[in-house]
Homo-oligomer: 254 residues x 2
């Protein structure tokens, strides 16, 4: 059932936020924001544990102000929860008891900057290995072009976000609804295929993985590279992130 080329959507992989201005099109598209270690994995984990919505904020001042208004706040510096906050930013902080049914303020300078960079997108979805297939199914249902925006590390290329971009690209290509026309997508898929047989082994090579180890924050790594532990699809619109999960399996997310 090959589709006509004109009916296909394109996937573009943006290896760091700094390269987003170079995406080739003025057309409509959805952005998938990726920060495997750790923001987008943590956000998916929070929705898996029943958070109602997440308000991303860029600064400590905003986070403190919202804390004073009675919101739950996740905020950390160098991996340590800040005193005024309820949680750090790790996926393991968000238990169902603590966040179920609530709105969470999530303080992330880089994440908020990426949301700002991607604001021309029709929607911005949150991608992680833990929601890979659910996200794929949702993207197919959206019938739109896709830009995978890797957060990277301090604007630099990072392996973990790139191999996720490759995994997502491969799944979307397998659906038959998408094409790629940028070298970064080709490279991401190739790196993902190299990594796939032993993701945790491969990711040992990643610089950020070692940074986390030094900070003793690497407990979350096996969880962050486990595929499809959740069906949530967090989507950012109008200043907040909510879950657009497809309740019933569409049969296309394998």
């Amino acid at each position: 059932m090959e589709k006509q080329a004109e009916n296909l959507h394109w996937i573009e992989v943006c290896l760091t936020p700094k390269l987003f201005s170079e995406i080739q099109t003025k057309e409509h598209y959805i952005v998938v924001l990726v920060d495997i270690l750790r923001a987008t994995t943590s956000i998916c984990a929070a929705f898996e544990n029943g958070v109602k919505s997440i308000l991303p904020v860029a600064t400590l001042e905003e986070a403190k102000e919202l804390k004073n208004q009675g919101f739950l706040v996740a905020s950390e510096q160098d991996g340590k929860k800040l005193d005024f906050a309820d949680f750090g930013n790790s996926a393991f902080n968000f238990s169902r008891e603590s966040i179920g049914g609530q709105t969470l303020v999530y303080c992330t300078t880089n994440g908020t900057r990426a949301l700002e960079i991607a604001k021309k997108a029709e929607k911005i979805a949150i991608g992680a290995f833990i929601n890979l297939s659910a996200l794929t199914a949702w993207l197919i249902s959206q019938d739109n072009n896709v830009v995978v925006l890797c957060s990277g590390w301090k604007n630099k290329f990072c392996l973990e976000d790139t191999i996720f971009a490759g995994a997502l690209t491969e799944q979307l290509l397998n659906s038959g609804n998408f094409v790629i026309n940028c070298d970064s997508a080709v490279a991401a898929v190739d790196l993902w295929r190299l990594a796939q047989p032993d993701i945790l082994g491969y990711i040992e090579k990643a610089a950020h993985r070692h940074r986390l180890k030094k900070l003793e924050l690497d407990d979350v790594i096996p969880y962050s590279f486990t595929l499809d532990s959740t069906k949530v699809v967090p989507v950012y619109t109008g200043g907040e992130i909510t879950n657009e999960q497809i309740i019933k399996s569409t049969g296309t997310n394998s």
Copy 2:
């Protein structure tokens, strides 16, 4: 003969010029400028054919002015030689008869911008597959850190420059004098290892390769991906590029 870590130099791979500002160090380093299709391959070819020096210029105005002063000029637009120029920018234009012993003005907007971006480097060397091992030997002789600056395509990541960065990184690592600490170098080496068994087959996936095919400029591709056809090491200092080739083999360039 393992060296102490403190005696090792680092290699950083910068996947596009736009990411150069993110390189991690304020230390001293040499930049290797890479634009496999086609500027850096063409510049190596010109030195292989005996050009004395190359003056890179950014604009047609500068190129025309220098042409009026009697210089030989290479300048093209969309792959077509411009009327006022003596040559286009293809490696195949520079025969020994036409350029031997002469100074060549080479008009390249992207190349000149990259030289400007890299101006804090102690030296800027010109890298291509055709001078890979000679460049490696020269870099080892320089006893300095190395930043591989990929030109990319319109500031975007491109496969051909990245796999060259991987090839050079692998050779430098094999010397035992270097370490890597950035994910882009890890990815470049992995992509190079994927590509190496059949470089031309691999590069079929590259978008720019198809752009050249459309422009009927792909005749130079097999030449551009042939390893070590020359021992020249073009180096940019003080506004011009000259050849710092190591005349005798040092025995380290294998």
